[in-house]
Symmetry: C2
Subunit: 131 residues, 2 copies
DNA sequence: GTAATTGCAAAAGATTTGCCCCATT
DNA sequence: AATGGGGCAAATCTTTTGCAATTAC
């Protein structure tokens, strides 16, 4: 097992993720982190996000239709709502039905993660035309 | 409303999607289509896939962790199981719990699509170590 | 005939990687 | 001091786009 270090960069990235509620992209995290570490590079941000994702600390959310990945802390299980109008990504509770879901599929051996994305329009954008 | 044409290219792409069960990438569809249309270009494949997706005929599935999008026909509602070992993508039935799911979220105005991805290992890869 | 669509190649966008230096342990 | 991690820039991979030529209607 490789020994990992607590670098300032990694800490800052985690802090940003902890404080942000908007599911930032790597680029957004990069810009934000530069306020504290003006010399941090985008590559470092990506490397850390991948590291933290593989470690299970953060979660990568790939937008349903193009654009960059967005990230959040993988503390509690939850689903995501994605507003197609304003592009907001909101955490929503994972429907209880899913938590206890048993997959009666002989093709499935083990389930490690359930990823539920609800796509639609949020209330701030919403009420008006649904199309 | 723009008038759309039935080009040979579009037809071939749809046929490939109809016959394939492996959720091919644009690149795979490109290679396959070249057996019939040796001069088709990758750009055309992408343009058609985007067109068909926007039209609601095909569905684009973005893999949870990098790599290219995969596609399938959007005929019946279903969820996807993604094997992290062999990278297979399987159609699985959408849990009934989800079809009737009501989102009691004041932040959600309208839901247009529910996307459920189950990640884990499939039976062919599976039984052995879950890690 | 007209406009949607193609092929090609270049461009754009997102992410990864090599290399060498620096900092954490 | 050892080596994991960082900075920078180049490379890679995926997808999009401009444009002139083609083709379905």
């Amino acid at each position: 097992m490789k020994k990992t270090r607590n670098t300032r960069q990694r800490g800052v990235i985690l802090d940003i993720l902890r404080e942000s509620h908007e599911h930032p992209t790597a680029e957004m995290i990069y810009r934000e982190s530069r306020r504290v570490l003006p010399h941090i590079s985008l590559g470092t941000v990506y490397r850390n996000l991948n590291f933290l994702r593989d470690q299970g600390t953060v979660r990568e959310i790939r937008p349903c239709e193009g654009g960059s990945s967005r990230f959040d802390r993988a503390d509690t299980p939850h689903a995501h709502f994605h507003c197609v109008r304003c592009n907001a990504l909101l955490d929503i509770p994972l429907p209880p039905a899913l938590e206890s879901l048993r997959f009666e599929e002989e093709r499935i051996s083990a389930v490690s993660l359930i990823d539920l994305h609800v796509i639609g329009s949020c209330s701030s954008c919403g009420e008006a035309t649904t199309n």
